[in-house]
Amino acid sequence: MDAIKRYVRSPAAVLGLVLLLGIIAMAISAGHVYPRDPLALAGRPLIWPFSNPRFLLGTDNSGRDIAAQIFYGARISLLIGGAATLIAIAIGILVGALAGFYGGWVDTVLMRITEAFQTLPNFVLLLVLVAVFGSTLTTVTIAVGVVSWPAPARLTRAEFLSLRNREFVQAGRTLGMKDAQLILGEILPNALPPVIVYASVVMAVAILLESALAFLRLSDPNVASWGNLIGLGRDVLRVQWYVSAIPGIAILVTVLAVSLVGQGLNDALNPRLRGR
């Protein structure tokens, strides 16, 4: 409970939470506010924002409502970001826990694999995965998750390595606990907080990765995503730069919100006397 109190004491963390809730609200309410298909033609192309009350944020090259795409785009970003993060964290915790707890050859093998994933630039691997498996929403989500698991794995492993020799774990061993009980009951609950906090970083990166893919026209073209819109806006950058600018701001705000919430969680769960 004091964790919550500590959280709200930081104005940045509260701001992040408010922004994040706002974006989630946008995603949920998209169907109500803009009931029609966001990718359907809505009006004349390239109307400027704030010039037409029907299209608050204007329209894009094909005459689609930008505001509608922003609202529906929130769904895509949060969905892909969230799902990919879950995948990455799940794989990461599994690999990291086993490597950190057992050490020896298990650790060596798992770390080699982790190193392989980290040596190959993650975006290049993403490109390869997209080239092989295609660009549907599902494949992109899984691909982003697969590219992001090494960092949480290393973090979990580091936590496990340090906790494995902590005296309360040794005490558990002398009491006769089995390995599974030690990992799940004693070490994991203590190792989890930093990893959970790190999930916010993973999510921020996941959103940026997906939007970069969409910008390069390598993500799912049939959904209204912010990255897609930025890519579209590139063609009309000279005059109607707002087509690219607006969704970019949306991405910025979302990633900022996620980062602030993550930092707030970190400070709330690991209080230190002198602040960061």
């Binding site: 005296e167 309360f168 040794q170 005490a171 061993r173 002398t174 009491l175 006769g176 606990m177």
Partner: protein
């Protein structure tokens, strides 16, 4: 008040009514409340207190090196006619190192790991003087020779991690005395060192003090150290001076109740009269060895450390066997081999006559209830996310006791170890260090083991709390007929509670026997050196022990 209490003629440093405030949210309002004391020239003044007494804060306040939000509220610190509490940062910088120098507790972290020793000592000279490079180097060599560091030339070019703990502390002393300061503040400089090293450093400090006539403010928590080197003593508790005066009178006739408590808590070195021991051997170790290999590439260049070499010992039923040694002696490794947290490379361990070292994992898990362990660090030995009752009940539950029964038993154990049974629902961080050790003890006893291994169980506790926990162990030993292996580096503690004692050095047993024999009449040179190194040994020897 015309003169401050504790004022001394010709005081070099004089603290008058000093109060230091802590930031909001700390457990106390004041770190120091109206503290007054004086330091005369050419004397060693010991400031004694436990953790939280404010002694370190006082040292930092003198140097004006207090942490960010800790501030001097009122009072004066008079030095050479100036009030240091009101001095400007520039003035303080000129004084630090040149007129008042300080040495700290942890020599490893107190030195910059990325710069050589010679560099850091030389920095003291280059900041305060205008000497040339060559002259500075020569002075550094002279200083290192002064503090008796072996091979000063090589030491000057070495990095901190390349020297031993004792050598690092000597380097720090050399650095502090480089400019012949009037005052040397020593903040627990020997606490982190081995007993033998501690004795050497204390000797060095006294020698240098006498030679250079420096005034030394020596902070410690150990009254044994006080007995060893103090001229005068100041006793602090909770930020207040409770008693001060000449060392002789304080040690012989302490006035304040807290001082008496602190002195009484220093375990004396005379062993209690020997008890009758059983004939039955409950634990029998024979030629146990454990070697570590690290590093190396394809089997070459590996570093081999023999942590335990051919150790043999026996534990009679109901007896307490002490394993005594300094860091690196292998005693902790041996303890972990006995409990099978580590597997010994060779040798046999017989528990109640049965083979213990050779048990495989599954059977080991079942049989481990017969040997239990109490750990050293009260903060790390309890899972912070479990309630105390759960921690104690975990063992029996794993071995088949129904949960309700185990929890009820846990509460009984709480009462047995002197804790309030209703506190069993609290989390570890809500207990003090001494209370946590009691919980650890309860956890170990929950499985009703035949043998209890206590790995430095009181080393991390304050002196007064140590005595209480030791008394509890003695009490439980009587009631439950426990057979205990007690591991410690502190001979005084071993003398109080152990029937027999084994002395280890570099992984081997160098001497063993009944406590009274080993301590009263040691034959191995190392044992003799160890006994001679106990600070205030003469003081400890002249007192009574814990009634059993």
């Amino acid at each position: 008040m015309t003169a401050s209490p504790g004022a001394v003629p010709d005081a070099v440093l004089s603290i008058e009514g000093l109060s230091v405030r802590l930031p909001a949210g700390a457990d106390r309002d004041r770190a120091l409340a109206d503290v007054s004391l004086s330091l005369a020239a050419n004397e060693i003044l010991c400031v004694v207190g436990e953790s939280g007494s404010g002694k370190s804060i006082m040292a930092n306040a003198i140097m004006r090196l207090l942490p960010d939000r800790v501030t001097i509220d009122s009072g004066r610190v008079m030095f050479e006619g100036r009030d240091l509490a009101a001095a400007s940062p520039a003035e303080m910088r000129k004084l630090r190192g040149a007129s008042i120098a300080m040495i700290f507790q942890e020599p490893m972290t107190a030195l910059n790991p990325l710069r050589t020793i010679g560099d850091q000592i030389g920095e003291m000279l280059s900041v305060h003087t205008h000497l040339a490079r060559g002259e500075i180097n020569a002075r550094v060599q002279a200083l290192l020779a002064d503090v008796h560091i072996p091979d000063p030339e090589r030491a000057a070019k070495a990095y901190p991690h390349e020297l031993s703990g004792g050598q690092r502390q000597r380097a720090m002393i050399a650095m502090a005395l480089a400019l012949d300061p009037k005052v040397l503040i020593a903040d627990e400089p020997t606490t982190a060192l081995d007993v033998t090293t501690q004795a050497q450093i204390l000797k060095l400090i006294r020698e240098l003090q006498q030679r250079r006539k420096t005034a030394v403010l020596f902070i410690t928590h150990d009254f044994g150290v006080v007995a060893e080197i103090a001229d005068r003593v100041v006793v602090m508790q909770h930020g207040v001076v409770v008693e001060q005066g000449p060392a002789q009178s304080i040690l012989a006739d302490p006035q304040h109740a807290y001082t008496r408590q602190l002195i009484a808590a220093v375990p004396p070195l005379t062993a209690p009269p020997p008890r009758a021991l059983s004939d039955e051997i409950i634990l029998d170790l024979s030629n146990v060895s454990k070697t570590y290999r690290s590093g190396g590439f394809l089997g070459r260049g590996a570093r081999v450390t023999a942590a335990v070499k051919n150790v043999s010992l026996v534990l009679p039923r109901g007896a307490t066997l002490g394993i005594v040694g300094e860091s690196g002696s292998g005693k902790s490794t041996l303890a972990r081999c006995i409990v099978r947290l580590i597997d010994p490379d060779s040798g046999s361990i017989l528990l109640q006559g049965r083979d213990w070292a050779g048990l495989r994992r599954a059977e080991l898990r079942r049989e481990t209830r017969h040997i239990q362990m109490v750990f050293q660090d009260p903060f790390a030995s309890l899972n912070p996310r479990r309630k105390a009752a759960d921690l104690v009940a975990q063992g029996p539950i794993i071995h088949g006791t129904p949960r309700a029964q185990a929890l009820a038993d846990a509460r009984d154990l709480f009462a047995l170890v002197g804790l309030d049974p209703s506190a069993a629902d609290r989390f570890p961080h809500e207990f003090s260090g001494g209370q946590r050790q009691r919980i650890g003890l309860a956890r170990a006893l929950a499985l009703k083991p035949a043998v209890l291994i206590a790995d430095e169980p009181v080393s991390a506790l304050d002196v007064s709390v140590q005595a209480q926990v030791l008394k509890l162990l003695v009490d439980l030993r009587e009631r439950l007929g426990l057979s205990i292996i007690f591991i410690t580096h502190d001979l005084r503690v071993a003398a109080q509670i152990c029937d027999r004692v084994v002395v280890m050095k570099d992984g081997m047993v160098v001497e063993h026997g009944a406590t009274a024999d080993v301590f009263g009449n040691p034959w191995h040179s190392y044992t003799k050196a160890l006994l001679n190194s106990i600070p205030g040994g003469h003081f400890a020897r002249g007192r009574e022990g814990i009634p059993s």
